[in-house]
Symmetry: none
Subunit: 213 residues, 4 copies
DNA sequence: CATGAATGAGCTTTCATTCAT
DNA sequence: TATGAATGAAAGCTCATTCAT
């Protein structure tokens, strides 16, 4: 039994290694530009060996994206529960995004390269979408709670606000080259921008008529 | 002389045709997935003829992006001048983005595919960056003006707010598949989201202590 | 116009060259074992150039087979008309097969490698089958005529006899390695076997009660 | 000793299993299209285990072919002895082929795929050829006997007739797609064709001057 | 100026075979 | 003995780019 599990562990390890290498490369160059050869070299395996672990390039990509979405969902769920009211929940969720990005920056590629033309048949895409929806629902819930308990502005739409929140955070975490350029021009660091954005979000959604922060 | 200029005009025409076809295709399928063959067919030219007008595929992409950035800058500049104070200028600039997106949707690809790994040598990238910077500066200026004249919240950083504004608008105009999915789940239309986002931005940056909108 | 036709001729020439090389290789090694690379080398073209002339390997194979079937049909048709009665027509058709084989031996591969797993969709296969059927019908007709005019045995089935005739001729023209071995063992040449087979066929189908050959 | 022989029996068993699976697959899809993986799966063994029993794919093929040739030879030998004169022997041999084909259809692949480019070095090919020659010699002998005893036409060449006989039978048992198509066109069944061919053969070789069948 | 033709480099993927365990 | 893992070699095919006309 120990033998089996060792082998399995090793196999799982290899799989993870492949995913790590692929993540890194996808992140650096984008899905299309990365070749199976590069992934193989990065993993120090033969190109053909990759096909023992993944059916094709798409599956590698999907595995990474799925994993990332799962981790994010987990972090979001935990943080959601830590908030005592709607506003706090929004704060905690926002920080959850930051935490995810900081600890697993590579997974962020998922947002950028989600454009990949998957064979629609893939049932795995459904899995992915399910998880992402579950994550998003948390944000909506937090908004709804805050609207109900009066910690957030009561005239806002929870869904639309959730969409805006997600957009903002993703953008500020995963900067485009142009944005980077603007930041350099004005000497702004990434951390500064992140902090500012968090403040901006909170200020924009909280019920300033009620709370005095 | 007239002959020369006619020829030149025709040449310019062809160039534009190529760019139009390419824009459309890049927009539909993404830079990587578009082949020179497709661009040629769309333009009704031979594949090799494209190379008389552009050094390679990258240059076509760059030309489109540059053109789009120029148009955007122009619209922003015009609208900037229409605003009487900082807040109005921010409003006008926000609407300028919408206008640009509505009238030249194809150029929006630029944001998404800006990731294309250009040979750093390209001097054309500098041109592009220059124009984009000029556009961005306008937004910063508007914020500064509003902060100075008291129509915008005085404790905000004009540059960081400009970055957030740009991000938000771009994201809300050019939706990711995931965002689209969330919108479908909750039955939200694109126009609704755009309107909501504009309101959100204005509300977030204006000096609510002073103005009563 | 001459320019166009020259170019077209040259293009047609290349196509033929490719087909010739492919024929030779298919004949020598069998469809599966022949690579596009080999065909390219044999034709002194780049591998990718082949794809300008044929969509894929299957199409090359089909083109050869189709061409061969067309030539055979033509020869059969001509010879069919030369025979004055059924028996003579059978003789002429038999000789037509020999002639075809002698002049275009490579096309004989068609019989052997017809097993190739074509995508059923191919409409070209229908074309091929049509021509082959037309050829076969000629043989059936000849038998029917001979049965009717009494030069062939009257108690035979024209279709089944036609099937046997075709089989025999094809086999004797295109020898399997085992058959070759047997021939070597007994010191029999290919021409001897062909002659003997022709005699055998005629003797077997003719009306010996009537004719005195 | 019993232990050893049990082991040996088991080993022999495995070998046979592999051959059975391979036969089936070769028959269905052709040598080239069958992968070692498929053979392994069909046998419920690991891919690499096949290599303990056979040096490579070719050897599997050869083993099947050899086995088939041995069985055929045996059946031919038995039937040869049952015939009382040359004509009867030819009849019995013809029926032997049919019997072999009916009972061991899979082995028939041997004829079709004999084209496989074996490394000439193989000594096993000599074994195969020896057996096939022995089978063929039987047919020749039967013809010779019939010629000598007057039951077969006396002016025929025993070897050449034997070659024709073999060809005819093999072809009629193992139909090409084209032949199948012709048969469908005219609504002829395989059994009908087989029966007709047997009659045809007998009628063609027997001494009609002497016998009155 | 325009193009048809050609190509080299590179892609994803398959598969027979080897080898350490 | 049996196998899972690994791999090299090769396959078919695509595409941006070049070049002679």
């Amino acid at each position: 039994m120990t033998i089996i599990s060792r082998k399995q562990r090793e196999k799982e390890m290899r799989r993870r290694n492949i995913l790590q290498s692929a993540e890194k490369l996808f992140y650096q160059k984008g899905y299309e530009k990365v070749t199976m050869n590069e992934i193989a070299q990065e993993t120090e395996l033969a190109r053909s060996t990759l096909y023992l672990y993944f059916k094709n390039k798409e599956e590698i990509y999907l595995a990474i994206t799925l994993k990332g979405s799962e981790i994010l969902k987990e972090i979001l769920t935990k943080n959601f529960e830590k908030g005592q009211n709607g506003l706090e929940k929004i704060e905690m969720l926002t920080k959850a995004f930051i935490k995810f990005y900081t600890e697993y920056p590579l997974y962020y590629l998922s947002r950028f390269y989600y454009q990949v033309p998957f064979n629609q048949e893939y049932q795995k895409i459904d899995d992915l979408n399910k998880i992402r929806t579950e994550s998003f629902v948390l944000v909506v819930k937090a908004f709804q709670e805050g609207i109900d308990d009066g910690t957030l502005q009561t005239d806002q739409d929870p869904v639309k606000s959730a969409l805006i929140l997600s957009s903002l955070i993703q953008n500020v975490l995963n900067l485009t080259p142009t944005t980077k350029m603007h930041m350099e021009t004005y000497g702004i660091t990434h951390d500064e921008l992140i902090d500012y954005t968090i403040d901006f979000i909170i200020k924009s959604v909280q019920n300033y008529k009620k709370t005095n922060r």
